[in-house]
């Protein structure tokens, strides 16, 4: 096991999959000569050349469409969004084309494509660049959504996403690129749709992913000192969702707090909370609590941004609320 950054883990996944399968190629803004806006594609142009690492103009709708076409005729494109917020420009391509072609062609064409890039709030990226974009795509049948929180998960899940025969929305995070963690040596994959217990506990289940996972683990550590044993469940893939794992955990702890960085109304937490309430109702000792971003655009000002994004303190308060302590 080597300890590497989340960024390096993604880079390894891209490199290994491009070596393994000549149909895999990468395109997007600044992925080649500049080595990627966040240096995820470092060294790839040098190794694979400009035919497989393609710098595009600022034209998300255009190059996403090119990717879909390439996928339909047998290639395996990886399209990078410099930030996932830019995918809004390509939303017709993603929602109306990529997600629906398999269905509308009666199974004649599938779209084995990965659209990846960083999303969610980071440090002072302001309203347009801080959105938790998974909520926008979560609603769409035909898409798979992945939000890895650790280097190990990032590598294993990106490799699975590249090998998957359907369009995969793969959202990373500016805040996670520099985080380090153990990554197994050699080729490994983590299947889409399989969650992970990041910490075992018995009093309450926190469901959290991506950057919120890190907050959840910190909160669990602090609560442990107060004698509260927290189980942290990381779904990793939001669609398909590992509902079984979440339900098993809640049936054990009888209490759940669901966390997400985006605004809560109509968010991922609503869906997960609803699944728990519906399928584990008789096991609940308290209503499911949600900790989400505030119902407002993300402000640029540091103090206001802090108020918008969920904090460890709010998570701890929510845990205590479901425990009635």
């Amino acid at each position: 096991m080597a300890i590497i950054t989340y960024r390096e883990a993604l880079n390894q996944a891209l490199r290994e999959e491009m070596r393994r399968d000549p149909r895999v190629f990468l395109m997007g803004e600044e992925v080649g000569l500049y080595q990627g806006a966040y240096k995820v594609s470092q060294g790839l142009l040098e190794e694979f050349g400009p035919k497989r690492v393609i710098d595009t103009p600022i034209s998300e709708a255009g190059f996403t469409g090119v990717g879909i076409g390439a996928a339909m005729v047998g290639l395996r494109p990886i399209v990078e969004m410099m930030t996932f917020n830019f995918a809004l420009v390509a939303i017709d391509q993603i929602v109306n084309q990529a997600a629906k072609i398999l269905y509308m062609s009666g199974g004649q064409y599938n779209v084995p494509m990965v659209i990846r890039g960083p999303g969610g709030p980071a440090h002072q990226l302001a309203a347009q660049h801080s959105q938790s974009m998974e909520s926008y795509f979560y609603h769409v049948p035909g898409l798979k959504i992945v939000r890895p929180g650790t280097p190990k998960d990032a590598k294993g899940l990106l490799k699975s996403a590249i090998r998957d025969d359907d369009p995969v929305i793969f959202i990373e995070s500016e805040l996670l690129y520099g985080t380090k963690g153990e990554v197994p040596d050699g080729d490994y994959t983590i299947p889409l749709g399989v969650g992970d217990i990041k910490r075992e506990g018995r009093d309450v289940t926190i469901v959290a992913y991506s950057t919120m996972l890190l907050l959840a683990l910190q909160a669990a550590e602090e609560l442990e000192k107060e004698g509260i044993s927290v189980e942290v469940v990381d779904p990793r893939t939001l669609r398909p969702l590992d509902t079984e794992l979440i339900l098993e955990s809640v049936k054990k702890t009888n209490r759940a707090v669901v966390m997400e960085s985006g605004a809560g109304f109509g968010g991922i937490g609503t869906v997960i909370g609803e699944i728990i309430s519906e399928q584990a109702f008789d096991y609940l000792d308290a209503p499911v609590e949600r900790v989400t971003g505030a119902n407002a655009p993300t402000p640029y000002a540091k103090n206001l941004e802090r108020a918008k994004i969920p904090s460890k303190e709010r998570l701890i308060a929510a845990v205590k609320k479901v425990l009635a302590v």
């Binding site: 075992e200 018995r202 044993s229 009888n254 109702f281 008789d282 096991y283 609940l284 000792d285 308290a286 609320k321 009635a324």
Partner: protein, 415 residues
């Protein structure tokens, strides 16, 4: 803006409190921070401050009555302010007053139970499922969750198996039925439970139901310890070092040498404490309390004696602060002064053990083939078998015995 005055949570274990007296009456002016009432919790009498200024418009729970934590007990507002919305949630129960059960009165319901039974019972889905499986009428259970909701922990005291969902205790209904007293043919008096009595009842039942106890008894030659105590009484006549102090000192050293005994069983692990906090069981008129002597490892026998004296005196006067009776890692209970030869004590969870001390008595003992008169004391260690095994407890007890029989080690520097 009207301020709801609710029953505060004044200690970790407090679930309800009794109003001893109101220092302000309806219509009196109240300033924020002013003491407005005295509250009796399960452990002590504590003064309650007002959280804001205004007029004490309404007192909902009179002196002598109890209310669960979080329950509305009064309203502070401006003189002409409409407080009906604040009062609305308790409108149905506000009129009820406590009626102390008279002699022979067969209804055991306490005022708080009546408040709960009025109207729909709020319970979590899990609590409902458990109650149904165990044949428990939820309307008889007092909820400790938000807004009085019955949650799992409220059932735990009644059904040990509620602690582990799914493990049913099929005999429980029969047992409950067997425990129900028959139609009264003898005159009796139902006495209301004091908060302390209620807390003790709940904790000991929970401990016996969930903690597998085992007991180890040993006899100790206390001749030298008696000499030590007499010598110390001459040295420090004001202090009056007690046998309990000497035994605590021996226990502290014993725990330092056998840290596995200074621990808690935590379901998925064992927590071993690096600090020794000794709880001292103190009998009170209407119950008992365990004041805690903290960080004993660093204290000499004289320090232990001095602090224990202060704690015990304040415990008897019900003047302990909540933090002074919480957080023990091991408890010592001495009934020697009541001429008890030996007894077994119930563990105070999450502690792993408790040491029960009997009286010291003169009796014939064999020393070097001769019959002599010796001072002997029997002590019994109750252990949580989930945390420690027989041999662990036995070696610890042996150590404490040895220390008491060689008490010079008790007055050496703290180790």
């Amino acid at each position: 803006m009207a301020i709801s005055v609710v029953m505060p949570r004044l200690s970790d274990t407090m679930e309800e409190g009794k109003i001893l007296r109101w220092l302000k009456q309806e219509g009196d002016r109240v300033d924020g921070g002013e003491i407005i009432a005295e509250i009796q919790t399960d452990k002590a009498d504590i003064e309650m401050e007002a959280f804001g200024s205004g007029t004490l418009r309404k007192i909902l729970v009179r002196a002598g009555q109890s209310a669960p934590v979080g329950h509305l007990i009064g309203v502070i507002a401006e003189e002409d302010e409409d407080i009906s919305t604040v009062l609305a949630p308790v409108a149905g129960v506000a009129g009820q007053t406590a009626k102390p059960a008279g002699p022979g009165a067969p209804t055991p319901a306490s005022p708080t139970l009546q408040a709960v039974t009025a109207g729909r019972v709020k319970a979590s889905p899990l609590a409902k499922r458990l109650a149904q499986a165990q044949g428990i009428d939820l309307s008889t259970v007092k909820g400790s969750g938000p807004g009085g909701r019955v949650i799992r922990r409220d059932l735990v005291a009644m059904i040990p198996s509620a602690a582990a969902v799914g493990q049913r205790a099929p005999l429980i209904t029969a047992r409950v039925a067997a425990m129900t007293p028959p139609t009264p043919s003898t005159a009796f008096e139902d006495r209301e439970l004091s908060p302390m009595r209620r807390a003790i009842a709940k904790r000991v039942a929970q401990s016996m139901a969930t903690v597998p106890h085992f007991y180890l008894t040993v006899e100790v030659a206390m001749d030298k310890a008696t000499e030590l105590r007499e010598a110390m009484q001459i040295q420090t006549p004001d202090l009056k070092v007690t046998f309990t102090d000497i035994i605590i000192r021996a226990v502290v050293i014993g725990l330092a040498r056998h840290p596995a005994m200074n621990a808690s069983f935590m379901d998925d692990r064992i927590r071993v404490y690096s600090q020794v906090n000794i709880g001292i069981a103190v009998a009170l008129e209407e119950g008992l309390i365990n004041p805690v002597l903290r960080n004993c490892g660093a204290k000499s026998l004289v320090q232990i004696a001095r602090e224990a004296k202060s704690l015990v005196e304040r415990a008897r006067a019900l003047k302990l602060r909540p933090e002074e009776y919480a957080g023990a890692t091991f408890t010592v209970s001495n009934l020697g002064m009541y001429e008890i030869e030996e007894f077994t004590a119930i563990i105070n969870p999450p502690e792993a053990a408790i040491l029960a001390i009997g009286r010291i008595q003169s009796k014939p003992v064999v020393v070097n083939g001769d019959v002599q008169i010796g001072q002997r004391m029997r002590m019994t260690l109750s252990c949580d078998h989930r945390a420690v095994d027989g041999a662990t407890g036995a070696t610890f007890l042996q150590e404490v015995k040895w220390l008491l029989e060689h008490p010079v080690h008790l007055i050496l520097q703290p180790e």
